[in-house]
């Protein structure tokens, strides 16, 4: 194994003749594919679809809140709208977004493997995702659910006669999709790394997906069983959560949040991985404190399991345990802060350029930091009791998930778009979209912090007239934000046909994925690479580029 092949010619004016996109033809070849890259594309399309569906619900909710009177939607329709919005966004968008699309596409390539360990299970994951999505839509068509995305008992088991069972099934099935994705990643990362690709040479994107996978594998089954029990209570009347039979509704919350708090990190960790890659590349430096950043992902995963009870401060958890959980909740902020510090240190004295992915990455850091800090407010007991169930919460989690995760998702899509499709997107439009998203976001959600602080409760379709100005601002912001999200869809689709040919490494990035042609061939590597350099070794890259001619060693 000693032939060194020079980096492929950047100036080729056409896409590579043979690549994973044209390896086989016809719809069936896609629907039955085992290629992780094709499955990633299938996910990308379906996830985007659900994102805009969830966005449409958000739009309706925001329109209703334009005026103080509950005039556009009846109270129960409103409840159904925000429930569907939450369910679609959480389970069908946020949880799978980065892992299932970018993770699927990149993880095998980044560690020098030809595919994920279990290609068929990978395809199965996608089908399970679709089945889950279909159930959700079915529930919607049949009349919707209005429990909120948290399915709180006994509301969900006894009082609401909407389609809890169908939705429960949806989440159960989608949950298995996520379990299988996580399982596939873990096995692949453990067993399929190319020779020389040690744990501490792996890109941080791989680390963060690894940590998220641990959460998926350990947390999701607990959600699954909680949902099974809810369904059994509704159908045959078993009574694990039913007080009249001796059960305790609070137990449901414990089981639910045991998953759903870590789920926040399932959603955010892969996004942090994207940010690490983007920042390293556009400041052309190895991520400062690489090991600390890698371990902080794992630390977040571990701590993530110990904080769930902060969701139950107001529900009669004992003072003592509330105190412990409050402290633990603060603790989980530490590894996130480590990441933020290390990214800043990476930027410091880096040769920074502001390409589109970098703009989104800056958006991520800003918004996620605000979201995280307000989370610390909420983690402290006294504040939580004042702010819980107000718009402060709504603003907080939108800052973390939408401001954080979605920015990261867009950063990643833009960064690896040339690799996935072989073409560039239009530069100025994409920058415009990034800025629009950022402004729209702030305008939408910042007023909600104030609303919450002033005491506007969430989950009501009408509110006192005093709150109107801020609500109008928020709805206006949502419109801008909507435009910011639509733009990329349009120009990315456009670029598929008309975009400039990207060449194998348009960013001059390191990492195995950039050594392959764009788009890569089905099996990624004809010969498994031997890796003898650290991640983000930009000097190595510069050196390689000078060496036009191949050497034999």
């Amino acid at each position: 194994m000693s032939t060194i092949v020079s980096l492929p010619d950047q100036s080729t004016a056409a896409l590579p003749k043979r690549n994973y996109l044209n390896a086989e033809h016809g719809l069936l070849s896609w629907l039955l594919t085992g290629d992780h890259k094709r499955i990633a594309m299938l996910y990308l399309i379906s996830i985007t679809g659900f994102f805009f569906l969830g966005g449409a619900f958000a739009g309706l909710v925001r329109l209703e809140l334009l005026t103080p009177a509950g005039d556009l939607l009846a109270a129960d329709t409103y409840n159904k709208m925000f429930t569907m919005h939450g369910i679609v966004m959480i389970f069908l968008f946020l949880v799978p977004s980065v892992p299932a699309t970018l993770g699927n596409f990149l993880i095998p390539i980044m560690i020098g493997a030809k595919d994920l360990a279990f290609p068929k299970i990978n395809l199965l994951s996608w089908y399970l995702y679709l089945v889950g999505g279909t159930f959700t839509l079915t529930a919607l068509v049949l009349g919707g659910v209005d429990t909120g995305w948290t399915f709180t008992t006994p509301l969900s088991t006894h009082y609401l006669n909407t389609h809890v069972i169908t939705t429960g099934l949806a989440i159960f099935v989608a949950g298995f999709s996520s379990i299988f994705t996580g399982l596939n990643f873990i096995v692949t990362i453990h067993r399929m790394r190319a020779p020389g690709m040690t744990w501490f040479r792996m890109p941080l994107f791989v680390w963060s997906n690894y940590a998220a996978s641990i959460l998926m594998v350990l947390g999701t089954p607990v959600l699954a069983i909680a949902i099974v029990l809810v369904v059994l209570e509704r159908t045959v009347g078993l009574g694990v959560f039913d007080p009249s039979k001796g059960g305790d509704p609070l137990l449901f919350q414990h089981l639910f949040w045991f998953y759903s708090h870590p789920a926040v990190y399932i959603m955010i960790l892969p996004g942090m991985g994207v940010i690490s890659e983007v920042i390293a590349n556009f400041s052309r430096k190895r991520v400062f404190g690489y090991t600390a950043v890698a371990f902080s992902s794992v630390a977040i995963a571990v701590f993530g399991f110990f904080v769930w009870a902060h969701h139950m401060f107001i529900m009669g958890v004992s003072n003592y345990s509330a105190l412990v959980f409050s402290l633990l909740t603060m603790l989980v902020a530490v590894p996130s802060a480590i990441k933020i510090f290390n990214w800043s240190a990476t930027l410091y004295k880096g040769s920074i350029t502001f390409e589109t992915p970098m703009l989104y990455a800056f958006g991520f850091i800003g918004l996620f930091t605000i979201g995280g800090l307000t989370g610390v407010f909420l983690g402290s007991l006294g504040m939580d009791i004042h702010l819980t169930e107000t718009y402060f919460i709504v603003a907080h989690f939108h800052f973390v998930m939408v401001g954080g995760m979605l920015m990261a998702f867009l950063a990643g899509i833009h960064f690896w778009w040339p690799k996935m499709t072989g073409r560039m997107y239009p530069e100025s439009l994409s920058k415009l979209a990034a800025v629009t998203t950022f402004i729209g976001f702030i305008l939408t959600f910042f007023p909600q912090f104030i609303l919450g602080y002033l005491g506007m409760p969430r989950r009501y379709h009408a509110y006192p007239a005093d709150y109107q100005v801020l609500n109008v601002l928020s709805t206006a912001g949502a419109t801008v934000l909507g435009v910011g999200y639509l733009l990329p869809i349009l120009y990315l689709a456009w670029s598929l046909k008309y975009g400039e040919i990207a060449g194998s490494n348009p960013w001059q990035a390191t990492g195995l994925e950039w050594q392959l042609q764009s788009p890569p061939v089905t099996e990624n590597f004809t010969e498994i690479p031997y890796v003898d350099y650290e991640a983000y070794d930009f000097e190595w890259l510069a050196h390689k580029q000078k060496q036009e001619v191949t050497t034999v060693g």
Partner: protein
């Protein structure tokens, strides 16, 4: 650092060595494939532990709160049938272990037979379970569908009501366990067909080994369920 650019697809498939048809070409070696499969199975079982873990946690909690109700309700179960089922399941676990051995030593006939025996005992387990469930139905001990606390008068109405939690958990836990058995049994039939064709006795044993792990896991869950549900206060008196 060596990265080769893609050559022709067809060339890629011409490895120098001959390998089993089951060897998937994204693995470098068969050993790697086997390790990956087994690691994957262990991880899957870990998710199963978490899945049942939710139920066990509920059990521990309620048993602490309503101990008298749990003890009284557990007395309505038949320890004899439970013990019989434990024996049946251990036997089937033994047969499964033998099936794995047969696959590894490349004995096709023996593999098919041991799989058949495993299945026989698996089904026997479910038959016994069926009689137990039928008895609960007859005694009106099924929360939600058919329940009366007549048998638990001694506890006082309040505590007697709590037996419903016990039965809820009993049905949820044994039901989940039975569901796992059913899935296993269906899979075994499928493996028998394939074993008969000689698929697992040519050196490609990973599916049988991994299925063996699954089956043992299901056994072990029962080994926990039996004392927790049937023998709650054995030795307490």
């Amino acid at each position: 650092m060596v990265v080769t650019q893609p050559g022709d697809l067809h060339e890629e498939h011409e490895h120098e060595h001959v390998h089993l048809p089951q060897h998937r070409h994204h693995f470098e070696t068969e050993e790697q494939q086997r390790e990956a499969a087994s690691f994957g199975m262990w991880l899957f079982l870990l998710t199963e532990i978490m899945f049942f873990g939710g139920l066990f946690m509920a059990y521990l909690l309620y048993r602490n709160w309503y101990n008298p109700a749990f003890v009284a309700a557990s007395h309505t179960l038949s320890i004899k049938l439970g013990a019989l089922n434990t024996a049946i399941l251990i036997t089937s676990g033994f047969c499964m272990a033998m099936a794995v051995w047969a696959a590894e030593t490349r004995k096709r006939k023996a593999l098919v037979n041991f799989l058949g025996l495993t299945n026989f005992f698996g089904i026997a387990f479910l038959v016994v379970k069926y009689f137990e469930y039928a008895e609960k139905w007859h005694d009106s001990h099924i929360p939600g569908l058919k329940f009366s606390i007549a048998d638990f008068g001694k506890l006082g109405v309040d505590m007697a009501q709590k037996t419903q939690v016990y039965y809820s958990l009993y049905f949820a836990m044994t039901g989940m366990h039975a569901l796992h058995m059913i899935i296993g049994i269906v899979l075994i039939f499928w493996y028998m067909v394939r074993a008969n064709r000689g698929e697992f006795t040519e050196g490609y044993v990973a599916p049988i080994e991994n299925f063996g792990l699954y089956w043992h896991f299901v056994d072990i869950v029962w080994i926990f369920l039996f004392p927790l549900l049937y023998l709650i206060d054995l030795g307490a008196k």
